[in-house]
């Protein structure tokens, strides 16, 4: 078990190559949801869960089914259907066991299916030739990075609700500017992970 490699993978996916702020993945929900921290956190945890579950299912299917039978070209279809099914499953489970969370997430829960971050994570696991454990760690890192970006961002947006920007900048443009600054600040984390192990 190469723990060092796994930690580098996780920190890289979460911080330096943050899915949202540096790879531009998962932007749609990022902009739509993060108005209040509570729903942002709930949504992100759901995303982490779906990413982990999807990896756990897609990785074995790719390695033991698709690759073995030369069906690699079915990757996209199989993966997105698995994600869609898992999201449906999470929805049903939440509705039954955590109805308050289910209600607060509302329409954003089924939208996790079209969250490009989830599909990107499972495809990248395969592209990077990660082992099963490395894939799980990558998914965890990606999800945590998503959570980090969402939570910081909803905090910023809560504050900017009370500001009075020029008319043209109201809404999305202001969000974009804040995202730009946040993205820039994450650049500073680059050196940390590179040199973590001396």
């Amino acid at each position: 078990m190469d723990f060092k490699a796994m930690i580098v993978i996780m920190m890289s996916a979460a911080l330096v190559n943050n899915y949202v702020l540096s790879q531009f993945l998962g932007i749609c929900p990022f902009l739509g949801v993060s108005k209040e921290t509570k729903s942002a956190t709930g949504m992100s945890v759901a995303v982490i869960f779906v990413m982990l579950l999807s990896t756990a299912v897609t990785w074995p299917i790719q390695v033991f089914l698709l690759d073995r039978h030369g069906l690699g070209f079915l990757q996209i279809i199989v993966f997105i259907l698995i994600i869609a099914a898992l999201v449906q499953f999470v929805e049903i489970a939440l509705k039954k066991y955590m109805p308050e969370l289910y209600n607060s997430l509302g329409v954003f829960l089924p939208l996790i299916t079209t969250n490009c971050a989830v599909l990107a994570a499972v495809i990248l696991n395969i592209k990077e030739n990660y082992t099963f454990m490395q894939s799980m760690v990558n998914a965890l890192g990606a999800g945590l990075g998503f959570l980090l970006a969402m939570v910081i961002f909803s905090g910023i947006r809560e504050h900017t609700e009370n500001t009075d920007p020029p008319e043209a900048f109201k809404g999305l443009p202001l969000t974009m500017m804040s995202a730009a600054i946040l993205s820039l600040s994450f650049f500073g984390l680059t050196g940390v992970v590179e040199n973590m192990f001396g």
Binding site: L21, F73, Q88, E167, F169, P173
Partner: protein, 220 residues
């Protein structure tokens, strides 16, 4: 709605990116160079066209209950086709699009047009709509990419620009630059259309009109 307006709709008035704020991920990510933008636009238009035609053809056959999974399978099919063709016949494009080629599957624009147009219109109309929306998407990408490439790299389509080539500002081709340029672009759109462009308060996939229906099996 006559055929011509269907076509031009997607270009400005109902531009999927700049007005409906859909499909933002690839617009931000693949807009570092103008050539990439055109490539991505072409690939997405191809998938849009295929999906719209297929879904329109099958609109009376696909039961409502499973329509979203069916749409997803069809869309993913066309994306896979696009990927195969790119890898075999346009390798440089395939490389430059990277992970965003398979991610066309999750591009909200395609599902949006399927739900809002292809499901209810004839094949020919749906095809025209796809071309218009694809063109609008490509236009938005080209605008972003041009700004970012010119300012960030001093080139346009790879051709160096006399004065700017030596004094380029690389941050524009990086992540923060993407966010800034997009924000300014939207702000400009708002200003120019005097607020008419922003039709909804919510944005992104969340405000997508079909969001309430965007669930597998139509379960509530």
């Amino acid at each position: 709605m006559n055929r011509f307006s269907t076509l031009t709709n997607g270009l400005v008035k109902e531009n999927p990116v700049l007005v409906f704020l859909l499909g933002i991920c690839p617009v931000l990510a693949v807009s570092t160079q103008a050539t990439n933008a055109i490539g991505m636009g072409l690939a997405t238009t191809f998938v849009l066209l295929g999906a719209n035609i297929a879904i329109s053809l099958l609109r009376n056959v696909i039961p409502d209950k499973v329509r979203i999974p069916c749409y997803i399978v069809l869309i993913a099919g066309f994306v896979t086709l696009a990927q195969m063709v790119a890898e075999a016949y346009a390798y440089p494009l395939y490389l430059s699009l990277g992970i965003f080629l398979p991610l066309i599957t999750t591009n909200c624009i395609i599902l949006f047009r399927a739900e809002v147009f292809a499901k209810k219109n004839t094949v020919v109309d749906s095809a025209i709509d796809a071309v218009g929306m694809g063109a609008g998407f490509t236009l938005a990408m080209l605008a972003m990419a041009s700004i970012r490439e010119i300012l960030g790299n001093g080139t346009w389509f790879g051709i160096p620009i006399p004065v700017l080539a030596n004094d380029n500002i690389p941050i524009f081709t990086m992540a923060p630059g993407g966010f800034v340029v997009f924000g300014l672009l939207i702000a400009t759109m708002n200003k120019v259309s005097k607020g008419r462009a922003v039709k909804r308060k919510e944005f992104g996939c969340a405000g997508c009109p079909s969001a309430a229906n965007c669930q597998k099996g139509g379960a509530a």
